[in-house]
C-alpha cells in the first residue's frame, strides 16, 4: 500500500516539476506541435482497439474509450 502511494506522489511531483519548467511558446512556433501526429488524444483508428481492450481487460478510462454504456459482455 505504501509503495502505491509513494508511486502516486512521485507521479504528482514529477508532473508538477514538468509543468513549472515549461517555457512560453508562441503560436508561430507551434508548427511541430500542430502536426496531426502530435495530437494529445488517441487516433480515430484506435477507437475499436480501445473497445476490445476495455472488454478483455478489467481497467478502463482516460484514453478516450467509453467507461460505461453498452454491454460489451460478449
Amino acid at each position: 500500500m505504501k509503495i502505491k502511494f509513494l508511486f502516486l506522489w512521485l507521479f504528482i511531483l514529477s508532473s508538477n516539476v514538468l509543468f513549472i519548467s515549461c517555457s512560453s511558446v508562441k503560436q508561430y512556433q507551434k508548427n511541430r506541435l500542430n502536426d496531426s501526429e502530435m495530437d494529445l488524444s488517441a487516433r480515430k483508428s484506435q477507437k475499436f482497439e480501445q473497445s476490445f481492450q476495455l472488454y478483455r481487460e478489467g481497467a478502463s478510462g482516460t484514453n478516450g474509450g467509453k467507461s460505461g454504456g453498452g454491454c460489451g459482455c460478449n
Binding site: 515549461c22 506541435l33 494529445l40 481497467a59 453498452g70
Partner: protein
C-alpha cells in the same frame, strides 16, 4: 480510496498553481469569416476483429472464446459561426457493430445455433459544442443511445474546455452518465421453471435490471516547449446496478444443498454474481515529443484501481516515422499488467460459501501485449487525387494475453473534408 482522491486533487492544485505561461494571446486580425453552415469533416471508421481463446466465461471459464466483430462508425461534423464570433459545432455519429460469438451460443447449449450466437449493436450520438473563436473556450452537451438484443443504453454528457491566454495550457472537463437496461438472460439449466429465454418468440417473463454509469474526466494539457507537450487525465467513475453478466456460469468445488437455488437439479453451478457498485479510478499521462524532423514519440501510461481489487498498469509507445511530409508509418507497442479481482477463481475452484463469484478471465490477473503498425497518408491534393478524401489510415494490431487469448484487428479510417 480517499487518499487516492486527495492525491489527484493535489495534482490539479499543483498544476493550476503554475505561472509559466504569461504571454499575450495572438489576436486574429484577418477580417471576414463566412457565417454559413459548413461541413467540417466526415470520418468513416471500419474494423474487423477476430479473437480466440479457451476460457469462456459463459461456460464457467472453459470453452471457446472464438469471436468476430465487424464494427463501423460514421461521424459528420458541421459548424456555423455566429455574429459575435462564437462557433456552434454539431457532431453526429452513428455506429453499427455486428458480432458472432461461440461462447454466447452456449447460453442454451441444446440449440444447434441459438439467437444469442450473433447480435448487432446500433449506437447514434449527437454532440453540440459552442466555442469562442478568439479564446478557444467551449461548452457542450451530448446525447447518445445504444441498442443491442438484450441491452439498451441512454447517455448524456457535458463538456467544458478552458484555454490559457497564450493557448499553451488547456483544461477539459467531461461529465457522462449512461442509464442502461439489461434483459436478464440466464443459462438454460439455471432458469426457474416459468422463466423465459429472452427471445422474441418466447412469451414467458424475464427480469429487467438497470446498470447506470457515471464518470467525470478532468484533464489538463500543457505545451512544454516547441517539441514537447503533455496531457494528464483523471477519470473517476461509478457504476451501479446489475454489474454481473447473469448468463455467465460459475462452477464450484462442492455441491450446494439439495433443492437450494433456482433449479433443484443443479448442485454445483450458479450464475455469476458480483457487487452492485463499482468505483473506478484511472489516472493517466500522455507525452508527445517531436524528435528531429522525421520522428515523433507518442507515449501513454495509465494507473488504474477499483474497489473490486483490480489494479492495472498500462503503457503504450508509438513512433510515427514521417517518410514524407504527408506519409507516415507508426509502429506501436502496448503492455498491460493487471492484478485481478478477488471475486475471480477458475473453473470449479470457487467455494460454496462465497457471496460474489466469477470465472470471467477478463477480470483475472493477467498481462497482455499488443503490437502493430499504423499507416497514414494525407497528401495536400487529396488521397488518390480525390480532393475531398483528406486522410487515409490503415492500422493493424496483434494482441495476446497470458491467459492464451489472442486476437487480431485491422482498421480503416477515411477522413473527408
Amino acid at each position: 480510496m480517499r487518499k487516492i482522491y486527495l492525491s489527484v486533487l493535489g495534482l490539479y492544485i499543483g498544476i493550476l498553481s503554475t505561472h509559466a505561461q504569461v504571454s499575450e494571446a495572438i489576436k486574429d486580425s484577418s477580417g471576414y469569416q463566412s457565417r454559413k453552415i459548413k461541413l467540417d469533416e466526415v470520418n468513416f471508421v471500419t474494423a474487423y476483429y477476430h479473437q480466440n481463446g479457451n476460457n469462456s466465461a459463459v461456460t464457467g471459464g472453459i470453452g471457446s472464446e472464438n469471436l468476430t466483430d465487424f464494427a463501423n462508425t460514421i461521424d459528420l461534423q458541421i459548424s456555423k459561426l455566429t455574429r459575435n464570433q462564437h462557433k456552434n459545432t454539431f457532431l453526429f455519429e452513428l455506429g453499427v457493430d455486428h458480432y458472432t460469438s461461440a461462447s454466447s451460443d452456449k447460453i442454451d447449449p441444446s440449440s444447434i445455433s441459438s439467437a444469442s450466437r450473433s447480435d448487432t449493436r446500433v449506437y447514434p450520438s449527437l454532440n453540440w459544442t459552442r466555442s469562442n473563436v478568439q479564446t478557444g473556450n467551449s461548452i457542450g452537451f451530448t446525447g447518445s443511445y445504444s441498442h443491442e438484443y438484450d441491452y439498451q443504453s441512454v447517455g448524456a454528457g457535458f463538456n467544458l474546455t478552458r484555454l490559457s491566454h497564450n493557448k499553451n495550457t488547456q483544461f477539459d472537463l467531461k461529465l457522462q452518465a449512461y442509464l442502461d437496461r439489461w434483459t436478464v438472460i440466464l443459462p438454460l439449466e439455471l432458469r426457474p421453471p416459468v422463466y423465459g429465454s429472452g427471445s422474441d418468440d418466447d412469451e414467458r417473463p424475464v427480469d429487467y435490471r438497470p446498470r447506470n454509469s457515471y464518470s467525470a474526466s478532468f484533464s489538463i494539457s500543457q505545451v512544454i516547449n516547441t517539441r514537447l507537450q503533455v496531457l494528464i487525465t483523471a477519470e473517476p467513475s461509478w457504476q451501479h446496478g446489475l454489474l454481473a453478466t447473469k448468463y455467465q456460469r460459475v462452477y464450484f468445488n462442492a455441491d450446494f444443498a439439495k433443492g437450494v437455488g433456482p433449479n433443484g437439479n443443479v448442485y454445483n453451478e450458479r450464475s455469476e454474481n458480483l457487487p452492485d457498485n463499482r468505483y473506478k479510478l484511472p489516472v493517466a499521462v500522455r507525452v508527445n515529443y517531436f524528435l528531429g524532423d522525421h520522428y515523433i514519440i507518442r507515449t501513454f501510461y495509465r494507473y488504474y484501481i477499483d474497489n473490486w481489487g483490480i489494479q492495472a498498469h498500462t503503457a503504450e509507445i508509438e513512433i510515427p516515422v514521417k517518410l514524407t511530409s504527408f506519409i507516415s508509418i507508426s509502429p506501436f507497442y502496448r503492455y498491460n499488467n493487471q492484478k485481478g479481482t478477488h471475486y475471480f477463481a477458475p473453473y470449479g475452484q470457487h467455494n460454496i460459501d462465497e457471496t460474489y463469484y466469477t470465472s470471467d478471465y477478463d477480470l483475472s490477473t493477467l498481462t497482455s501485449n499488443f503490437i502493430g503498425a499504423n499507416f497514414r497518408i494525407a497528401p495536400p491534393k487529396g488521397v488518390f487525387g480525390l480532393r475531398h478524401l483528406n486522410t487515409l489510415e490503415i492500422r493493424f494490431g496483434h494482441y495476446f494475453q497470458s491467459t492464451k487469448l489472442s486476437s487480431n484487428i485491422i482498421t480503416l479510417h477515411l477522413k473527408f473534408k
